[in-house]
């Protein structure tokens, strides 16, 4: 009999990269083109089933990092892993994600994490070239996702969930 493990996962990234959209796509299969910035924190849960395991991800969708507001680091307390989100059409958001990774790693240690390059449906506006994506992929599990079409979203969350399964 497998016990139901609950795992807190934080979504970290610059504002407007699609953190909320990814959560809503993954948890409720919905997407909206209108931008509604997240104020404070919003928590959603989702059960993921693997062959002979099940896990509950408690997803902490935090307000994004920008010049108007910093991510509150105390919110990382108790996180088992994190999902770094960047917007592939805005190169600078990758830098923000990497900076947040350094802070998170200093607090949480070497916990499972994945890097998500979102808005993959906007290929024409993509600002990351193959070389820099390969370089990122050498250091991280990297997923290209589109919260809009749903491509890659399930895979990214499942991969992180899998790394968090009790051993």
């Amino acid at each position: 009999m497998s016990t139901l493990a609950k795992r807190k996962v934080c979504l970290l990234g610059a504002t407007g990269v699609g953190k909320t959209s990814l959560v809503l796509r993954f948890v409720r299969s919905i997407f909206s083109d209108t931008y509604q910035t997240t104020i404070g924190t919003r928590i959603e849960t989702k059960h993921i089933h693997y062959d002979d395991h099940e896990i509950v991800l408690v997803l902490w969708d935090l307000s994004g990092e920008d010049e108007f507001q910093r991510v509150r680091l105390s919110y990382l307390r108790g996180a088992a892993g994190y999902l770094l989100v960047a917007d592939g059409t805005r190169r600078a958001t990758v830098e923000t994600a990497l900076a947040l990774h350094h802070t998170a790693a200093a607090l949480l240690g070497d916990v499972p994490r994945v890097l998500v390059l979102n808005k993959a449906d906007l290929r024409a506006l993509w600002e990351l070239d193959d070389a820099s994506e390969r370089e990122l992929a050498a250091r991280w599990p990297v997923f290209e996702t589109s919260a809009k079409t749903g491509a890659g979203v399930e895979e990214a969350f499942r991969a992180l969930g899998h790394a968090l399964l009790p051993r």
Binding site: Q36, I43, S74
Partner: protein, 373 residues
């Protein structure tokens, strides 16, 4: 009686009061606001112990901070940040928690804060949208710049051929009117080449061609550069019957600037002055200095700059677009170049008419090479 009024006031303000028990659970005190009662549906008794962190996972990160208050360490009150739950029907339920120590009672007050939430959203949303639009525009401008750079670059290669052909024809020294026409064509082609170079230089300067580490290191002597540039312009000026008069900066007038670009800055200002001078007019080049800087000014007796253009003079295309305005990048180039050396540039309309352009450069303490020589 009073307690019951107070507790219904709190409930109608959307606040629920919970008291922390020694075992870490909470008991509800007073009336429950509607949103909380709704959450607690199915809980039979009002005095059922509540595990708030299960009810509101967000509180996991707040309770350790609240604990400090309840232990009487330091502050007697602490507020959480806003968090958002999903209410029945999917709408947002923004909440905020406060931990208080009232006498011996360790209280956790949770407040529904729609107004604060919507106000904050209004401001942040607008700020963030503007930021995103701004970034998108900046990116678009950069892409257009790159496109322009490519186009200009491509325009230069056939021009090289044209110049080559014209020069070899010129060497044959054709007689009479052919020679005059050829000279005119050669002049125009040379002018076109210098405009193209100017655009490419601006592009290089904007996109990191002038690096900061470069600046301090490079020093040049106005005593050498100024006469040289003026001499080069005297020929064109004579063609328009304009006379250039200049001050002689003392030897060792070292400034922070690199020579090829300083030559271009000076050439730009002189070009403009000669072009806008009336036939038979004078252009004055003056040098003034103090302990820390040297100022060069170029004055002409032309019509001056219309006040409507003066404010944007050093912007891109600040002189408007037209044959008289050249590429529209000359003064812009001067400004970004001079500013990168830590200097300043400006325009003043002298009361007696005409135009006066000036730039100020920092004095270089010493020029090791030049002094040693």
């Amino acid at each position: 009686m009073e307690t019951s009024i107070a507790s219904s006031i709190l409930a109608s303000l959307g606040k629920v009061v919970l008291e922390r028990q020694p075992d870490g659970t909470f008991l509800q005190r007073g009336d429950a606001p509607a949103w909380f009662a709704h959450r607690m549906r199915g809980v039979l008794h009002a005095d059922t112990p509540i595990r708030v962190e299960s009810l509101f996972p967000f509180l996991e990160v707040f309770l350790p901070e609240a604990e400090a208050v309840w232990q009487g360490e330091g502050a007697t009150r602490i507020d959480s940040d806003v968090w958002c739950e999903t209410a029945e029907g999917g709408e947002e339920l923004p909440l905020e928690a406060t931990a208080l120590l009232v006498g011996p009672a360790r209280l956790l007050v949770i407040t529904r804060c729609d107004e604060l939430f919507h106000e904050r959203r209004l401001v942040l949303q607008r700020a963030r949208e503007l930021r995103i639009t701004y970034d998108a525009l900046a990116r678009e401008i950069e892409q257009k710049d790159i496109l322009m750079h490519c186009i200009v670059h491509d325009l230069a290669s056939p021009l090289q051929t044209i110049l080559g052909v014209l020069s070899s024809l010129d060497e044959r020294d054709p007689p009479g009117e052919d020679g005059v026409l050829l000279d005119a064509a050669l002049d125009a082609a040379l002018r076109q080449r210098s405009m193209i170079r100017e655009i490419l230089t601006v592009f290089a300067a904007e996109h990191g061609g002038l690096d900061a580490t470069h600046e301090e290191a490079v020093v040049c002597d106005l005593h050498v550069v100024l006469p040289h540039v003026v001499a080069e312009h005297e020929r064109t000026a004579r063609g328009r019957n304009v006379r250039i008069e200049r001050d002689a900066p003392p030897p060792g007038s070292f400034v922070v600037a690199d020579e090829p670009r300083l030559v271009r800055v000076l050439a730009n200002l002189l070009d403009n002055a000669v072009r806008h001078s009336p036939v038979g007019g004078h252009v004055h080049v003056r040098v003034r200095g103090d302990d820390t800087s040297l100022e060069v000014s170029v004055e002409d007796e032309g019509p001056g700059v219309p006040p409507s253009l003066a404010a944007r003079l050093f912007e891109r295309f600040g002189r408007g677009i037209g044959p008289e305005a050249g590429t529209g990048l000359g003064l812009y180039f001067c400004r970004i170049t001079v500013e990168r050396w830590g200097g300043a540039i400006g325009y003043a309309a002298p009361p007696e008419g005409g135009a006066r352009f000036w730039f100020r450069l920092r004095r270089a303490a010493t020029s090791t090479g030049a002094r040693a020589a």
